[in-house]
Symmetry: C2
């Protein structure tokens, strides 16, 4: 019952009308991304996700991973999936051609990878981590290292992981203690332990490239003394052939609430004389390089949020249309989807998923604009927007995604709590998405301290001006099309934006005088920002849908008057009817958004404004 | 690390100042509940919960239950815990003396059972179900059945379960198909299957009493044809000795997300000729009797909400005070509890727990008033209040409890997602509380359809008048004590109550014309009601705390002027200082409530008012 099919209509609608695929294909080096090719890639990805990755998701959860001596054993089917994944070229989709990739834009990468995450998150963490490393190596490694490693990584012969966390260094990487000592040959020897290393070891690939944060004995304290090292599982000869086993191994696996198919390893370095490592880039710039992969990872995790929600929603929607219970409008034997409260839950889920997707795909396009747009102003603004909103994308999408997975359990009722149906897996798997690559609290602190306060809210003001322009456009459309509902959305969103600005003013006013209150306000402020930005995208979608409906009605009207009931016109009307029904669905999601989620903005704004209560609370308040 | 200690100060504060223990002890048949005895019972219960039940909670989760042939094997330690539990008389705490109970009031029962649920929910489901049955048997069984069964149940020799659900009959008990046929001796033979039966089988007690819903072949269709049968695991001779094994057995156990220590059984009846059952009460009144146990069970589940939240909070608070990470106010090596965002999370949890507890204990006292109050008006009003709010207590407390358990994971960060720390168990265990004994959707429908619409909102108006009187009292106190913060709380709560009334007006206005919209509004309305009622109790607590602080300051002032610095006065001041610090903590929780949770009321009210969007959404809106 837990099958998966990609939500292609949503994906295309958002790509066409919110991202603007034509605009992406018009960017230098993005010519390949012309819409027909993009659509066909999406269809192929759907087949791969549904046919290869989804079927081993539940079995992977049940089977999990285990440590057998010093071998990490992953679930059955993982090897075949990896082999097919890299053989089909999916790993290289967005990577540069010079290393064997296809150089397609991030705006396409986002929906394709959303599918992998939906189909099998635990599996897909391996390619995701591998991809993140390539970005870091591209930025930081010297040419020799790139030439030796990148082609073998992009081809899928070797894979990568990200080795940051230590028992005393979780959110605070300044506390990293892993020791690196210079060897005579210019390499280093690493000693210490890393924890929570996803795919820290496995035998899916011939070699594993660990990118490891460590510090030299004489390095400065704190984050300015941390360097990035490349530590291969097997040493690599100059010709790329594999040498001896390096001194790094998995010593235990975590027993986790979810993503059982992804081995979470404790890795020991240097127990037998020192793990051979190679400095990546320059000494003491490790945190800077790490943030290259971290930002990739965070963007990927924002997709985890929507992806798991989509998967859980598909199951819940199917269940609600199969299960009958009680009377629906007085009739027995009809599916529970007809109960108003179940329909409300389904709409709640679907609306949130639509909003998350509408938030994240255009953000993916910002990456493309930042990298490729010929006008430096546009490119720079896109970079500012993605920097500003990265913590919001990561945290708001995963917070929201968790809520959707939770709703899905509720639709299943008692069957949601038993593992048999499979819905519980998505709930369990998803719980980590609000934690890894920086908790929601860490993201909120990043948003408020590093993104808003540091630049006095400048980029946020810029974004707000964009949103206000879109509100004006929506209000105008509502007026022209005479749709009171859309005019109401415009008013509600305008109030939401006012609340966002007031909350921002609050942060700016207290930033230097009362930093503790600002930090206590950070998470509510992040929720507020997420809701406003997602609401903006939902409003854009509603405007696009209304615009298409209006145009279609006008054209149907003129066709009808021209052909007056001839079969051809009926055919055209039939085709339009299907589109129109989807478009009216989008309008219904917008109505649900502004009925249910937009009102939460004011609540968060009130909470931000009252955040001083946190600092004022005596410690005794915490003890019953 | 996962130890438990009962929050005795909170429990006492709420019993003393919100419930009014003196008033309970003044009720007929409640004389035993004088405060000093109550406090000592709470202390004993704390020792039992911490010493006997809590230590086997995690091992029970890890070990789970299994079916060995047709024996259900529960975790190690369960037998010893059960034996000690019943030997200490805890099962009979609230039961009538004539069957061996101690007849203590529900207002005491609530904190005591909160402790059991905190310490070990999976274990405590057995005594809870057993207790619920005794209430049903008391109401519905004839004297002979009571005399034969109740003393042996109250003594813990035998235990009970509640056998309602069938594959096609979950939320909709009208669909029950279990067949009962009259036998010549006046008993019945039962045939069919029940699912999701907690403690459907086990060997902790000599016998198991199944209370089973079934229907006679010629019974009317729907809920009016369902009868309640008592089906013992071993037949019972007239002298109470055990006879042959009955034809009912566990055929499988569910693999669940949580409460692994509670066996969830599929029970087969009549595979070998028919399970012998005895009619309880009258034919075709089974649903009515079942609701006696169901209401008990729902009230108990409202305590599950606060209990698991308390347990998870204690762990999170301890972790946040042991773990250090990053710099707190510029200093390294200090616990994360000092980070403003972590403190915010802890306050968020603690405030919710305080509010849940403040909501549920006075509701327990309504039971006592309903049963024992000498003034019929007071008794009747208490019954109306408990009937009105039962769905809110059950659903809002479990929804809120789940959010607290979720926050606790977040405080643990990565360690929250691994099972080793134990925090994940409370999150997994708690997820079912929003499902069993009626999902949140079912509760909301009950609230709106059966409690509000059926009586045109009369009891809710009555409750609102009580709340408004308390708001006036709080405002007056704020004025007298000159505390602006309390005056602000009073204003916010008054606005909240206005929102509740407007939302109620909306339901009443649409109840007959647009029932689907009213049903779509039910869950947001339930959240709104829960927030308003909990906020009312928080405001009462704040008023009590301020009143005590004001009185204490006045008395300290007069003492100080009388004894001017003598050691005795210092001693008194020291004693007061501890109390005052707790009381100021209560005020801080109230401030957090009105900063963070009260603002959500308006959002839910807006959603209620816009609920027509659910019905208006075309089905196509649900399909991507």
């Amino acid at each position: 019952m837990d099958t998966y099919g990609a939500p292609l209509r949503d994906m295309r609608f958002i790509l066409d009308h919110l991202v603007g695929l034509d605009g992406i294909a018009a960017l230098p080096d993005c010519e390949a991304a012309e819409p027909e090719l993009v659509y066909s890639i999406l269809e192929e990805a759907d087949k791969f996700a549904a046919g290869v990755l989804a079927p081993i998701n539940k079995s992977g959860d049940l089977q999990g991973c285990r440590l057998d001596g010093d071998r990490v054993v992953v679930p059955n089917g993982w090897q075949e999936a990896w082999d097919q994944f890299v053989a089909a070229g999916w790993l290289g989709l967005s990577l540069p051609a010079e290393y064997g990739g296809q150089g397609l834009p991030k705006a396409l990468w986002a929906p394709v990878w959303e599918m992998w995450f939906s189909a099998n998150l635990a599996f897909t963490m391996l390619p995701q981590l591998t991809l993140g490393q390539t970005e870091a190596l591209e930025v930081a490694a010297d040419d020799a290292m790139k030439a030796l490693y990148l082609p073998r990584i992009v081809s899928g012969e070797w894979s990568c992981n990200m080795s940051l966390t230590e028992p005393q260094a979780g959110s605070d990487l300044a506390a990293v203690r892993m020791r690196a000592e210079a060897a005579e040959d210019g390499s280093y020897r690493l000693y210490g332990q890393k924890i929570f290393i996803s795919y820290g070891d496995h035998e899916l690939t011939d070699n594993i490239v660990h990118l490891v944060l460590a510090r030299l004995p004489d390095a400065p304290a704190g984050i300015k003394g941390i360097s990035l090292f490349l530590v291969p599982k097997f040493l690599v000869n100059a010709d790329g052939s594999l040498g001896v086993r390096n001194d790094v191994r998995a010593v235990s696996l975590e027993d986790k609430m979810g993503i059982h198919g992804s081995p979470t390893c404790t890795m020991a370095y240097g127990d037998q004389g020192g793990a051979v490592g190679y400095l990546v880039g320059e000494l003491n710039r490790g945190i800077e390089y790490m943030f290259v992969m971290m930002n990739e990872a965070r963007f990927g995790v924002s997709l985890h949020g929507v992806a798991l929600a989509e998967r859980a929603y598909q199951m819940a929607l199917r269940y609600a249309n199969e299960r009958s219970q009680g009377k629906v409008a007085g009739e027995a034997g009809r599916p529970i989807a007809g109960h108003p409260d179940v329909k409300r839950q389904l709409l709640a889920m679907r609306t949130r998923i639509f909003a998350m997707r509408a938030l994240v795909y255009p953000a993916a396009a910002w990456f493309d604009h930042a990298r490729h747009h010929p006008e430096p102003d546009v490119a720079a603004r896109s970079r500012r927007y993605i920097d500003l909103l990265m913590p919001v994308l990561k945290a708001w999408n995963t917070e929201t995604g968790n809520l959707v997975c939770d709703d899905a359990i509720q639709v299943f009722g008692g069957m949601g709590f038993v593992e048999e149906t499979g819905i519980a897996q998505h709930y369990r798997d998803g719980r980590v998405t609000r934690i890894y690559e920086g908790t929601t609290g860490i993201q909120a602190n990043d948003l408020v301290s590093r993104k808003i306060l540091r630049e006095n809210g400048a980029t946020l003001r810029e974004l707000v001006a964009d949103i206000r322009a879109d509100i004006a456009a929506l209000a105008e459309m509502a007026d022209v099309a005479d749709v009171a509902e859309l005019a109401r959305h415009a008013r509600v969103l305008a109030n939401n934006v006012d609340d966002l600005e007031r909350a921002t003013d609050f942060l700016l006013a207290h930033g230097s005088t009362d930093p503790a209150t600002v930090q206590a306000a950070a998470v509510p402020f992040l929720h507020l920002t997420g809701l406003v930005c997602a609401g903006w995208r939902v409003a854009q979608a509603a405007r696009a849908a209304q615009s298409l409906l209006t145009a279609s009605a006008a054209s149907a009207g003129s066709e009808a008057s021209a052909t007056s009931g001839a079969p051809a016109a009926q055919g055209a009307a039939g085709g339009q009817a299907e589109d129109a029904s989807y478009l009216r669905g989008v309008l219904a999601l917008a109505s649900f958004w502004f009925a249910t989620y937009a009102p939460q903005v004011r609540a968060h704004a009130d909470t931000v404004a009252a955040s001083a209560c946190v600092g004022l609370a005596p410690d005794a308040a915490l003890w019953a």
